[in-house]
Subunit: 139 residues, 3 copies
């Protein structure tokens, strides 16, 4: 069995947007009980991550970390035509990745207690980000 | 065909724990000859990685690298209630990821000669880490 | 349906090598219309990434970034027998990963407009890098 659905995340600029419920709903509707759930973001300046979902300070601290290792307005970058946050967004996207694969057990994504699925916008301005979820396995 | 198994890694605190043999055993028992093997760690302060498996200095040097870019006791972090190593553990986990997908060929994970699969504990204290392996493909 | 193919990328030393067309050809030949395409690189000192495919400056700037956080000749590393670029290559490989999973829709990898698939050589010298593509899904 293979089920595939696409949805759009409208971001508010740099920061995270939780998509755990949207992904779990697609898995529940798929009829797959054991298998894999793949989540993909079709962009190069935003990414996906699994992150602690209880304390929002964790995600704020991750921004602090990224701002230190990949700051905006970096004078060493050549690709600057699209703004001072564009190349740092590509760096952050490459470091964190655009795809996640999760186990499906008993008809749902078997995440750890504190694992949430987040789309992470790395550009300063709001964007519309396309996400595709593919669920594969036995019913 | 879809086979799914879970096991627990008991870590000794910060450092790596090789799980290649445990994963290969699950693949061998699965009966899948061609397909994919997905490995997932259900936690946000430990991660999975593929790493050079011949010289343990490589993994020691990776700790050196992480200690430099994500040091403990970072004064800029807000999420500090669970200890000075907690937020750095989340950062390291996000940078290296909690899921790996590997090709299965001829009934085994087709890893490169020097590729080992490691669970990487990022907290200072020992923990029990749950790992789920899903093998999908044709028999 | 499961189809698996292997090919070799001959690199010219440190830098990126686009493999999008090679991967799309395997997907097109597979007969899979909906499912997943998994790409795997069997080495620990080179990696795979999705990256902006329009402006080559993006990939040059990524090298600039990596040279800053994981420079060659780092005096803190112990694993130096294979050269001053070897341990930095392992670090870069661990940060960016050796596997990518992509959605297959309508018989092709459904990449975003600006997403290209790149093998990223992290060693200074040219190498031959083995890549395995596995396509899984319904026809």
């Amino acid at each position: 069995m293979v089920i595939q659905k696409t949805f759009t995340v409208t971001t508010r600029g740099r920061g995270t947007h939780e998509i755990t419920a949207a992904v779990q709903d697609i898995v529940a509707d798929s009829g797959v009980t054991t298998g894999l759930c793949h989540v993909f973001l079709h962009h190069t300046s935003a990414s996906l991550m699994l992150c602690e979902n209880a304390d929002p300070d964790v995600r704020a601290d991750l921004e602090t970390f990224m701002a230190r290792i990949a700051p905006d307005n970096d004078p060493d970058y050549v690709h600057t035509a699209e703004g001072p946050d564009d190349m740092p967004a590509h760096v952050r996207s490459v470091l964190t990745g655009n795809d996640l694969t999760l186990p499906v057990s008993n008809g749902r994504c078997d995440l750890g207690t504190w694992q949430g699925i987040y789309a992470w916008e790395h550009r300063s301005a709001p964007h519309r980000r396309r996400v595709t979820v593919t669920v594969l396995g036995s019913g």
